[in-house]
C-alpha cells in the first residue's frame, strides 16, 4: 500500500528582498507518512513545518523534490479531493454561519447535492458544533473557530486530514475536544497529520512523530520507540514503608541494579484542570 504522504528530497527556498536573497525553509527533507496513523510533525517556530505542509498541499511550489499524496502527485485536484486541511489560526468569512461555511466547503470539495445535507450534519456533529452552527462565525470563540475549521476539513470524508497547529490558542478543554476528534478520525481509518509544538498533546494523540529543526529532519519514529528509555524502569508501589524501601533497594543492589530516584507520581496540570473544570465551557 502506498504511503499517505511521500516526500522525497524536498527543498524549498524563498527569495526575500529586492536582491532576492535566498532563505532555505526546508532542506532536503524526506518523509514517508504511513496510512491510518496519527502523525506528528514537530519543531520550533520557523523550522519549516508549515512550509512543508503548504508544499504538500500545493499551496507553495517546491524548489526541488517530489511529493505524492495517497499515491497521486500532490497539488492535483484528485489528491486534494481526498485531503482535508485545517490551516494555522484559521480565519473564515465572518458573515457566514458555521453551517453555511461547512456547506460551502463541502460544495467546493465536490460533495454531491444528494449527500450534502448529511455530510454537513455529520461534520458538525463530529466537531461538536451542531448547537452553534447557525450563529455567524464572527461570534465564535477561538476554540469554536478551530472546531468549525475541523468540520470544514473533514466534511467531504477525506482519507487524509492535515491539521496545522489545531490547538494553538485553545484552552485545555477545547484542546482535549480536538484530541478526541483526531482519535475519532483515526478510528475511522483516516490518516491525520498534525503539525504542532504542543509536545504534551502530540505525545498523547500521535502514533509516530518527526522532529524538524532548521528545515531538516532530525528524528523520526513511533512515539513509544523514540520516548522509551530502555535502560531505566519505573515501579509504582502502594503503601511503601521506609523498611520496605530499604529492603527493596537491598534486593535490587544484590542483582547489580541501582535505585536512581524515589518520588511520588504526579498527575499533569492538564489532567487536574480537566478534572476540576467540567462541562463544555467554550461558548
Amino acid at each position: 500500500m502506498t504511503s499517505a504522504i511521500s516526500v522525497r528530497r524536498l527543498t524549498k527556498d524563498f527569495r526575500i528582498g529586492l536582491r532576492g536573497l535566498k532563505l532555505r525553509a526546508v532542506d532536503d527533507l524526506s518523509l514517508e507518512i504511513p496510512r491510518g496513523q496519527v502523525y506528528g510533525l514537530l519543531g520550533p517556530n520557523g523550522c519549516g513545518k508549515s512550509t512543508t505542509l503548504k508544499v504538500v498541499l500545493g499551496l507553495v511550489a517546491p524548489t526541488a523534490g517530489e511529493i505524492s499524496i495517497l499515491g497521486e502527485a500532490s497539488a492535483t485536484s484528485a489528491a486534494r479531493r481526498r485531503t482535508g486541511f485545517l490551516p494555522e489560526a484559521p480565519y473564515f468569512h465572518k458573515f457566514l454561519t458555521g453551517r453555511e461555511l461547512v456547506r460551502y466547503c463541502a460544495q467546493l470539495s465536490g460533495v454531491s447535492a444528494g449527500e450534502l445535507a448529511s455530510a454537513v450534519e455529520d461534520a458538525l456533529g463530529l466537531a461538536a458544533m451542531v448547537e452553534a452552527a447557525d450563529r455567524p462565525i464572527g461570534t465564535y470563540s477561538k476554540g469554536m473557530l478551530q472546531r468549525i475549521g475541523f468540520a470544514q476539513a473533514v466534511v467531504h470524508d477525506p482519507e487524509l486530514v492535515i491539521l496545522d497547529e489545531p490547538t494553538a490558542g485553545v484552552d485545555p478543554v477545547g484542546s482535549a475536544a480536538i484530541g478526541r476528534m483526531i482519535h475519532a478520525m483515526r478510528d475511522k481509518g483516516k490518516t491525520v497529520v498534525l503539525c504542532s509544538h504542543l509536545l504534551g498533546q502530540v505525545e498523547q494523540v500521535c502514533d509516530r512523530v518527526a522532529i524538524m529543526d532548521r528545515g531538516k529532519l532530525v528524528l523520526e519514529g513511533a512515539v513509544d520507540d523514540v520516548l522509551a528509555r530502555r535502560d531505566r524502569h519505573i515501579l509504582t508501589v502502594e503503601a511503601m514503608t521506609p523498611a520496605a524501601r530499604a529492603a527493596a533497594e537491598a534486593a535490587l543492589a544484590a542483582h547489580g541494579a541501582t535505585v536512581v530516584s524515589v518520588t511520588h507520581p504526579r498527575r499533569s496540570l492538564e489532567d487536574l484542570f480537566r478534572e476540576l473544570v467540567t462541562g463544555s465551557r467554550d461558548a
Binding site: 524563498f14 503548504k54 498541499l57 500545493g58 499551496l59 507553495v60 511550489a61 485536484s77 484528485a78 486534494r80 479531493r81 485531503t83 486541511f85 490551516p87 489560526a89 484559521p90 480565519y91 473564515f92 468569512h93 458573515f95 457566514l96 460551502y104 466547503c105 460544495q107 467546493l108 470539495s109 465536490g110 475549521g149 470544514q152
Partner: protein, 277 residues
C-alpha cells in the same frame, strides 16, 4: 467542466455576499443615488442644454465616477481580503484551481457592479421618465417638438457600462494577482482607469507615425494593451439620441469589452497560478 463552473459559482456567490455587506458598497451606492436625485433640483443650472440631457449627464457622471471607484477598490479588496486573512489557504487546499478561484472572484465582483449599474440607471431612467412626461406636455402646449429619451437606449447603455466596469475589474484582478499589497493594486488600478480614458490619444497618435520607430512601437503596444474606456461612454447617443449611433457600434464595443475582460483574466490567472500564498 460542469464541476468547474459549479465551483466558480460558489466562489462568486460568497464573493457577492461579502461585497454587498460592505459599508463601502452601500456608501458609494448612496452617493450615486444622491447624485442622480440631485439632478432634479439642480436642473435649473443646465447651462443652456436640454433639461433631460443635463439630468442624464449628471447620472452618467455618477455612474462613471462611483462605478469606477467601486470597481477598483472593491475588486482589489475582495481579492486581498482572501489573501491577507488567509481564507485563500483553506479554499485553495480544496479541489479548486487557482483560475477557478480568480474567475469566481471576478464574477462575484462583476455581479455587484451589475447591481450598482442597474440601481443607478434604473433610478436615472425613472427621473428621466418623470421629467419627460412634464416636458412633453409643456412642449405640446407650446407647439414645440419635445425632447424624449429612449428606454431601449438606456438598457444598452446599462449593458455597456456594466461591461466597462467588468473590464476595470478584470484589470484590477490581474494587477492584484501580481501585487503584494492592496494599496499598490488600487493605485495602479486607478491609473489604469485614467489611462483607459485617455487611450484614444495614443490611438490618434498611432495614425500619425513619427520619425522614431521606438516611439511608434510604444504607442502601438500601449494602444492595444490599454483598453479604450471612452468607447463605452456613448450614453448621450444611446439614451437621448443626440447623435445617431452607427450600425454595429454597440456590438463592436461589446465585443471589444469581452475581449479585454477575457485577456486580462487570462493574464491574471497565469500570474496567480505561480503566486505563493
Amino acid at each position: 467542466m460542469q464541476d468547474s463552473l459549479r465551483r466558480m459559482l460558489w466562489i462568486s456567490r460568497v464573493t457577492f455576499l461579502e461585497a454587498v455587506r460592505q459599508r463601502f458598497f452601500a456608501f458609494l451606492l448612496v452617493l450615486g443615488v444622491a447624485m442622480v436625485l440631485s439632478s432634479v433640483s439642480l436642473r435649473v443650472f443646465d447651462f443652456g442644454h436640454g433639461e433631460l440631457k443635463f439630468i442624464a449627464d449628471l447620472g452618467f457622471g455618477g455612474l462613471f465616477f462611483f462605478g469606477s471607484v467601486l470597481a477598483v477598490v472593491m475588486t482589489a479588496q475582495l481579492f486581498f481580503s482572501e489573501i491577507d486573512n488567509k481564507t485563500a489557504l483553506t479554499l485553495l487546499a480544496k479541489p479548486l484551481s487557482r483560475p477557478e478561484f480568480l474567475l469566481g472572484k471576478f464574477f462575484g465582483a462583476w455581479a455587484v457592479l451589475g447591481v450598482f449599474v442597474v440601481v443607478l440607471a434604473g433610478l436615472l431612467g425613472a427621473v428621466l421618465w418623470a421629467r419627460e412626461i412634464e416636458l412633453v406636455a409643456a412642449a405640446e402646449q407650446a407647439g414645440k417638438i419635445p425632447t424624449t429619451f429612449s428606454a431601449g437606449g438606456l438598457a444598452q447603455f446599462v449593458l455597456l457600462q456594466w461591461l466597462r466596469l467588468g473590464v476595470v475589474a478584470a484589470i484590477v484582478l490581474a494587477l492584484s494577482s501580481l501585487a503584494r499589497t492592496f494599496l499598490f493594486a488600487v493605485v495602479v488600478g486607478a491609473l489604469a482607469v485614467v489611462a483607459g480614458q485617455l487611450q484614444w490619444i495614443a490611438q490618434d497618435a498611432v495614425l500619425k507615425p513619427s520619425d522614431s520607430a521606438a516611439y511608434d512601437a510604444f504607442l502601438w503596444v500601449s494602444s492595444r494593451l490599454i483598453p479604450n474606456l471612452q468607447q463605452f461612454n456613448i450614453g448621450d447617443a444611446l439614451v437621448l439620441g443626440a447623435a445617431g449611433v452607427p450600425a454595429g457600434a454597440v456590438t463592436t464595443v461589446f465585443l471589444s469589452g469581452l475581449f479585454y475582460i477575457t485577456a486580462y483574466l487570462t493574464v491574471g490567472a497565469l500570474i496567480f497560478r505561480r503566486r505563493e500564498i
